[in-house]
Amino acid sequence: MVDLVRFILGAPPRRVRAREQPSRSLSPAERRAEKLLMRCLTAEQRESYRNHGRFQVNGRDGSRWTIDAGAGTRNVTCVNASGARVYCTYLPDAPRADTLLVQKLCIEATGGRGLPRTESGALHDGHLLER
């Protein structure tokens, strides 16, 4: 609704505008994290991230993962033959872009089979990192 009003008023959607001016509001740590994330994305992922604040990772098992920078901790969605699942993950005390990067790395390293994460000190789905 807010974006609709902004559209009527001629202003760009909030997320797009934020991505166009990353250096004004980011701390040095966040800027470094953004730079590293961008280095690790494909050209297609970078374009999607810049324009929409999210990017897709395709698992080797045919799963399609979406990582959305603007969706809080429930920002990873996996769609595979079993249906859709939303994951709640984060990297504590870290720049947002680092969380997005680690989510991407974990998905790729598991071949798309899952998203390893710790809960109450135990690593869940860690075995998926082994080939």
Binding site: Y90, L91, A94, T99, K104, L105
Partner: protein, 75 residues
Amino acid sequence: MKSLMHVLGSRGDTETRWDPQDAGSVSRAREVFEGYRQEGYLTFSVSEPGAEADHVRDFDPAAHEIIVTRPLRGG
């Protein structure tokens, strides 16, 4: 220096560089890598920018780029 290891942290990443041909720099990088592994960090190897990551348990001096991070938290 031809290879690079990023350790993700609250203040952004810190970098360790090494030259696969230089035993001293390889040794220092291996020490950093193994220290973080012992603390439960995850270690990923990336062959080139934008390439798919692999989870690695052992330090490979020939690796192009390694990213070291704490595991994600979540449910």
